[in-house]
C-alpha cells in the first residue's frame, strides 16, 4: 500500500511539473465529456419523458392520404370504422397549424367538441363555448396576452376572429402545450374554412391493446385511402427522434471530438524525449518495469478520471439545472416559439458507465502502452533517447 501511495505521489509531482499542459488537457477533456454527456442526458430524459407521458396518447389514429399527402378525412368514415368489432369511441379530431405573421411563430390549433375539466396544469378554464380559447405559455408570451384578454387570428377568408382567453397552460406543461391554441371545434372549422363534413383525422379507441394491429389492418382494408398510426408507433418515433447518434448536435460536435482524440492520442502515445529520459533514469536507479507501468497508469487515471467526473457533473448541472442553455441555440433551429427545458432528471446509470469506459479506459490504455515499450528497453538507450 505504501508503495502505491509513493508511486501516486510521484505521478502527481510528475504531472505538476508540466502543470499548464496537463491543466489544458484536463479542461479540454472535461469539456468534451460535458458536451457528450449533455447530449446523452438530454436525449435520454426526453425519450423517457415521451415514454411516460405519451402512454395516454390515442390508441389508434386514422389519417386520409391523397396524392401521397395527408388530407382531410370525411367524418362519414367514423361510421364504417365503428362497425369493426372490439372498437370503442370513434372521434373525429380537428387540428391544424397557424402561421402568425405578427410574431413569425407557428401555432398548433386544436379543436375540442366537449367541455374538458380536471386539467390542473392550467391557469383559468378550458373553453366552454365558441369565441373562447385556452393557450400555451409560448403563445401567451409571443402575443403578450393573459387570461381575460383577446387573441386575434385571421381566418381562412381573411377576416379577423377574436377569441377570449379563458385559460393559459402553466409552464410545467410547456413540453406539451407551449404552442397550443385550444378552440371549440365550430371555431376551428370556421377559422380554417374546413368543409363541415371533414375532420383532420380520426381517433379510434381500441378496448384490447393487443388487437390494435389487427384493427389497423382491418381499417386499411376497409378504407384503402387511409393510414392508421398506432400508439406504439408514436412512442417508437420518439425513441428514434431522440437518438443521439443521429443528432445534428453530435454531427456538429464530431469534428471537435476527432480533434480531441488526435490530441489525446498524440499526448498519450508519443512519449517526449524528456519523458523517455525520465523512464530511463527511473530504471537506472532501480525502478522495475511494473513500477513504471503503475506510474503511467496513475498519470492516466489522474487526468482521465478527474476530467470524466468534472464533465459528467457539468453536463448534469447544464441539462437539469440550467435547462440545457448552451445546447438550446442548436436545438432551437428555426422555431420562434420554443419551450424552456424543464426536464425530469431521468439518468441512465448504464450511460454513465458507458461514458466511463469510452473515456477513461482508452486514455489509460494509450498512456500505458508506449511507456511499457520505453520501460522494457535498456535504461542507457532510453536515457539517450
Amino acid at each position: 500500500m505504501q508503495r502505491h501511495r509513493k508511486i501516486l505521489e510521484y505521478a502527481l509531482s510528475s504531472l505538476l511539473r508540466r502543470k499548464y499542459k496537463n491543466i489544458a488537457l484536463i479542461a479540454v477533456f472535461s469539456f468534451i465529456v460535458a458536451v457528450l454527456s449533455s447530449v446523452l442526458f438530454l436525449t435520454h430524459a426526453l425519450q423517457t419523458e415521451a415514454e411516460n407521458i405519451l402512454v395516454e396518447a390515442p390508441e389508434l389514429i386514422v389519417q386520409k392520404v391523397a396524392g401521397g399527402r395527408h388530407d382531410l378525412i370525411p367524418v362519414a368514415y367514423t361510421k364504417r370504422i365503428k362497425m369493426i368489432p372490439g372498437i370503442g369511441k370513434v372521434t373525429p379530431r380537428y387540428w391544424g397549424y397557424y402561421y402568425d405573421s405578427l410574431t413569425g411563430g407557428n401555432y398548433t390549433i386544436l379543436g375540442v367538441d366537449r367541455e374538458i375539466e380536471g386539467l390542473t396544469l392550467l391557469e383559468g378554464d378550458m373553453p366552454i363555448e365558441t369565441g373562447e380559447c385556452a393557450i400555451g405559455k409560448g403563445v401567451a408570451a409571443a402575443r403578450r396576452i393573459s387570461v381575460g384578454e383577446e387573441l386575434v387570428l385571421t381566418d381562412g377568408k381573411g377576416a379577423f376572429s377574436m377569441f377570449t382567453v379563458t385559460g393559459v397552460f402553466s409552464a410545467a406543461s410547456e413540453l406539451l402545450t407551449n404552442d397550443l391554441v385550444v378552440l371549440f371545434y365550430e371555431d376551428i372549422v370556421r377559422l380554417f374554412d374546413m368543409p363541415a363534413d371533414k375532420a383532420t383525422d380520426i381517433v379510434v379507441e381500441v378496448f384490447n391493446d393487443t388487437e390494435t394491429p389487427v384493427v389497423a389492418r382491418t381499417i386499411q382494408r376497409l378504407l384503402p385511402d387511409t393510414r392508421p398510426i398506432m400508439k406504439s408507433e408514436i412512442i417508437r418515433t420518439y425513441s428514434t427522434v431522440f437518438n443521439w447518434r443521429s443528432g445534428l448536435v453530435l454531427t456538429m460536435f464530431f469534428g471537435a471530438l476527432v480533434a480531441f482524440c488526435i490530441l489525446a492520442w498524440d499526448k498519450a502515445t508519443g512519449l517526449s524525449a524528456e519523458e523517455r529520459q525520465e523512464i530511463g533514469i527511473l530504471k537506472a536507479i532501480g525502478w522495475e518495469t511494473a513500477n513504471i507501468l503503475e506510474l503511467k497508469f496513475w498519470e492516466g487515471v489522474i487526468v482521465s478520471l478527474t476530467s470524466y467526473l468534472t464533465g459528467v457533473i457539468l453536463a448534469y448541472l447544464h441539462i437539469f439545472y440550467l435547462g440545457g442553455s448552451f445546447l438550446s441555440p442548436a436545438l432551437k433551429g428555426w422555431s420562434v416559439i420554443f419551450p424552456s427545458f424543464r426536464l425530469t432528471p431521468y439518468v441512465s446509470v448504464q450511460q454513465i458507465f458507458i461514458l466511463l469506459f469510452l473515456t477513461v479506459l482508452p486514455y489509460v490504455a494509450s498512456t500505458i502502452i508506449p511507456s511499457w515499450k520505453a520501460a522494457i528497453t535498456d535504461p542507457d538507450a532510453a536515457m539517450r533517447g
Partner: protein
C-alpha cells in the same frame, strides 16, 4: 504530500455525482403528480406529440408527419439532408426563364 488532495478531490467529485443522482431520484418522485397531470392533458386533448420544434410539420408532429411524402420542404428551411450543404444551386436555364420585353 499531494496524493491526499487528489484522493479527496476524486472522492468529492464521486460524492457530488451520487448526490446529483439521488437528488434526481427525489425529483422524479416529487414530479409524479405533475406527470399524472400531463398524462391527463394528453388523454383529454388527444395529443400525440411534444411541442418542441415548431419550424415544420415533421418537427412539430413527427409521429403524424407524412414522412413518406417527397419534397416536403419550405423556402429557407434548414437543410435536413447533408447533401444540401455541398450542392450548389443549378444554373438558370435561359429558355425556361421569363424575361420582360424591352
Amino acid at each position: 504530500m499531494k496524493h491526499p488532495f487528489f484522493i479527496g478531490l476524486i472522492v468529492l467529485e464521486i460524492a457530488v455525482v451520487l448526490i446529483l443522482l439521488l437528488a434526481g431520484q427525489v425529483g422524479i418522485r416529487a414530479q409524479q403528480p405533475q406527470r399524472e397531470a400531463k398524462r391527463r392533458i394528453v388523454h383529454q386533448l388527444m395529443l400525440t406529440d411534444f411541442a418542441l420544434w415548431t419550424e415544420a410539420r415533421y418537427t412539430r408532429n413527427p409521429s403524424q408527419a407524412d414522412l413518406f411524402t417527397p419534397f416536403q420542404d419550405f423556402p429557407s428551411a434548414i437543410d435536413h439532408f447533408p447533401a444540401g450543404s455541398i450542392m450548389a444551386p443549378g444554373k438558370i436555364n435561359g429558355a425556361t426563364r421569363l424575361e420582360p420585353k424591352k
